[in-house]
């Protein structure tokens, strides 16, 4: 590419598309929002209206009363993530969006599993919970509740393992994430 004033300019063939691409992986978006009426509805509504799917969603307070953090995960195979974040940025109450790179962030999710425990498998479920560093948080004659934290892979692995023992129900919080290192998420 030449400088202005030169005849050798630039070939249009050299130009490549910027944006609008699908990355093909899961994205974790960490979003700071003002605590204003309807802010969560605005985010959820935006996803619905633009045809984007939210895979998980977690909302909670931050150390500032006026600000909440929304962590949501989106499938980058189904949607162009830059379009998702640009649309989110248009919401006036959205202060900051960070698309966390997997290597740069710690992600966690908490899940509670209620597993049938009236059969001989009871001991095995307890053992599995130990292997997953889970906690038994409720025990009754017919069921136990196990709390597991970790990445979604770990939680899904635990789910697969306890399912044969009779998974009565499962509750997940949705993923939360924080960036690694000193800088703020």
């Amino acid at each position: 590419m030449g400088e202005p004033g030169t005849k050798e300019i630039l070939s249009l063939e050299q130009l490549e598309v910027a944006g609008g691409r699908r990355t093909g992986r899961k994205h974790t978006l960490s979003i700071l929002v003002e605590n204003k009426p309807g802010v969560l509805t605005r985010i959820a509504g935006l996803f619905a209206r633009r045809g984007f799917n939210i895979d998980t969603l977690a909302v909670g307070p931050t150390d500032d009363d006026a600000i909440s953090r929304v962590t949501l995960t989106v499938d980058g195979a189904k949607h162009p993530i830059d379009q998702v974040t640009k649309q989110l940025h248009k919401l006036v109450n959205v202060l900051k969006i960070r698309d966390l790179e997997p290597a740069e962030a710690v992600t966690r999710e908490l899940a509670l599993f209620k597993v049938s425990a009236d059969g001989p498998g009871r001991g095995e479920v307890v053992q599995l919970a130990e292997v997953f560093r889970g906690k038994i948080v409720d025990v009754s004659r017919r069921a136990i509740v196990v709390e597991v934290t970790g990445t979604d892979d770990k939680i899904e692995a635990f789910e697969a393992l306890v399912r044969p023992f009779g998974l009565i129900e499962m509750v997940r919080t949705g993923e939360i994430a924080i960036s690694r290192g000193r800088s703020e998420t």
């Binding site: 202005p4 005849k7 910027a18």
Partner: protein
């Protein structure tokens, strides 16, 4: 100070000189404060009329349009104008009354969650929960409405809160940490765009309503004439580039000219400025401009690469970017002969496919002729509004807009009933200009009641109904794509529009003879006060040329 009085002070501080609205129980305090606030209020006959009038005011003047409505049905009647303003980026503020806070959530009388139901169709909205928030919310609403990509902002105020006593201080800086539109435009990208233009052999400049909003029409013309760049505009952008100009290809899109659509199809570089690649422009997306690279300049980053991926995205204000692009381009040494082949091709299309129609053999007025006659009768010197349908497209094709803010229509939402109240609003904003509305016989009846408002306030709009007795565009589609099964498109027994005009206190006229049409129109225009003209046109005439929905530019018919 009572919060409602503080609201009036805020409106005055924002320079509001006219408000369109209708009172009700929940906004009684607002109207009490309005009583001696010194702000002109136009009492509309339906809140939708008020909302569209606010849009017409905003589009004609570039200032923020304001509409009031009460809670419940008053507010829901504003939903269509709010959505319309969102789609067409019209700077507007809608202030609705809400039921008393103790009644919210109880399904109280005239309660509607207008804040909730308009969330997807506002640029932003405020639900007042503390009366002390009102002044700040009003100033923020105006700031949001007019800056960045303009749009509608709703402020919903419960009745009891607008009666509350608050300490009012005059306007201060707005505090919107989550709202920082980019206006500057990246210099490197601008330079790259200039180089791409210099290297292009088949460029087209495709300008939209963003040029009008940015007040950048002169800057656009400068850019286009920095070389012989062919120019086309969307229906929202008409007037952003002077239509009589030799580089003007005409409007593009579904009912655009063949020259414009074919040029897009064969272009090697398309410079989109303040335009958003709507489906009415692109047709079948996968076959849209298949040879082109795209420079996309827009103040809204989310528009860039939304429908068509951009090669050189530039986010910012066209007013700021376009002159810098022109300067960068001028600094380049370019080959002035490189566009000759391209112009040869374009001239060919122009010669081969001019806009045209077969005139009637008798006195019958062809609808296209009606638009030409209006252009002649006004000398092109008028603000023209329209409803939505065939008449809108014919006006866009045959009224050659030379300046921005002269053509006011509902482009994105396609709202029937927009034209008459929008003309009313435009006339209030521009009292010294001629304001005409080209209406459909179907559309006009959707907000006909505002003719009463025009009579009441002496708002001298001239409404020309293109009366073919059909919902014409739907009939055309049924003829072309649904085997002529004319389902629910014949308007049957019309009201007598002349008598109706007179009943509303306006002047009614009927034109049926093409020979005297221009003179008749001149007479209508010269008549004092609001005038409603029933122009009888050919019943079954189609709007051509046309890219059938979902097809490509090459598939144009008619």
């Amino acid at each position: 100070m009572r919060a409602a009085d503080a609201l009036m002070e805020c409106l005055k501080a924002e320079g509001v000189d006219a408000v369109f609205g209708l009172p009700g129980g929940a906004n009684l305090p607002t109207y009490d404060a309005l009583y001696d606030a010194g702000i002109k209020h136009i009492l509309v006959r339906h809140e939708a009329g008020g909302g569209h009038a606010a849009e017409g005011y905003a589009k004609a003047t570039g200032r923020v349009g304001v509409a009031f409505g009460t809670s419940g049905p008053g507010a829901t009647n504003l939903v269509t104008p709010i959505c319309d303003a969102m789609m067409d980026s019209v700077p507007t503020v809608f202030i609705t009354g809400q039921v008393r806070t103790e009644l919210i959530g109880t399904d109280g009388f005239q309660e509607a969650d207008i804040h909730g139901m308009t969330l997807p169709i506002v640029k932003h909205s405020f639900m007042i929960q503390d009366p002390r928030e009102i002044p700040e919310a009003i100033h923020e609403a105006f700031y949001l409405a007019r800056t960045g990509r303009p749009g509608p902002v709703l402020v919903d105020i419960p009745q009891d809160l607008s009666r509350a006593d608050i300490a009012y201080e005059p306007a201060r800086e707005v505090h919107l940490p989550g709202y920082q539109p980019t206006t500057e435009g990246n210099q490197k990208q601008i330079r790259l765009a200039a180089k791409a233009l210099a290297n292009s052999r088949r460029p087209v400049i495709y300008a939209g309503g963003g040029i009008v909003n940015a007040e950048a029409a002169e800057e656009l013309t400068e850019l286009c004439t920095a070389d012989r760049f062919p120019v086309t505009c969307t229906v929202m952008g008409l007037g952003a580039f002077p239509a009589p100009h030799e580089q003007w290809l005409g409007m593009l899109g579904m009912h655009g000219t063949r020259a414009a659509n074919y040029a897009m199809d064969e272009a090697d570089l398309i410079v989109a400025i303040g335009a958003r690649f709507d489906d009415r422009i692109t047709g079948k997306l996968s076959e849209f401009a298949p040879r082109a690279k795209f420079i996309h300049i827009d103040i809204d980053p989310a528009e860039i690469s939304k429908n068509v991926p951009a090669h050189i995205p530039i986010v910012g204000d066209a007013k700021n970017i376009v002159p810098r692009l022109t300067a960068e381009y001028r600094a380049l040494e370019t080959d002035p002969t490189r566009l000759e082949d391209w112009w040869g091709r374009i001239e060919n299309w122009r010669r081969q496919y001019p806009l045209g129609y077969e005139d009637s053999a008798d006195a019958e007025i062809k609808p296209q002729l009606m638009c030409q006659a209006l252009y002649e009768a006004t000398g092109g010197d008028a603000i023209v509004t329209s409803d939505v349908g065939q008449h809108q497209m014919w006006t866009a094709q045959y009224f050659h807009f030379a300046k921005p803010r002269r053509w006011i229509n509902s482009g994105g939402l396609g709202t029937m009933g927009f034209g008459l109240p929008a003309a009313m609003g435009a006339q209030v904003g521009c009292p010294d200009q001629l304001v005409c509305c080209v209406a459909g016989d179907g559309s006009v009846q959707m907000n006909m009641q505002e003719l009463a408002t025009c009579s009441e306030y002496g708002i001298p709009i001239k409404v020309f109904i293109m009366n073919n007795g059909y919902l014409g565009m739907v009939r055309q589609w049924q003829e072309l794509f649904w085997d002529r099964r004319y389902s629910a498109v014949d308007m049957g027994r019309h009201p007598d529009f002349v008598k109706l005009a007179e009943a509303y206190g306006a002047t009614g006229m009927r034109f049926e003879d093409k020979a005297t049409l221009v003179d008749d129109m001149r007479e209508a225009i010269a008549t004092d006060g609001p005038v409603l003209v029933d122009v009888r046109v050919t019943r079954e005439e189609n709007t051509y040329p046309m890219i059938p929905a979902g097809q490509a530019a090459r598939d144009m018919v008619g």
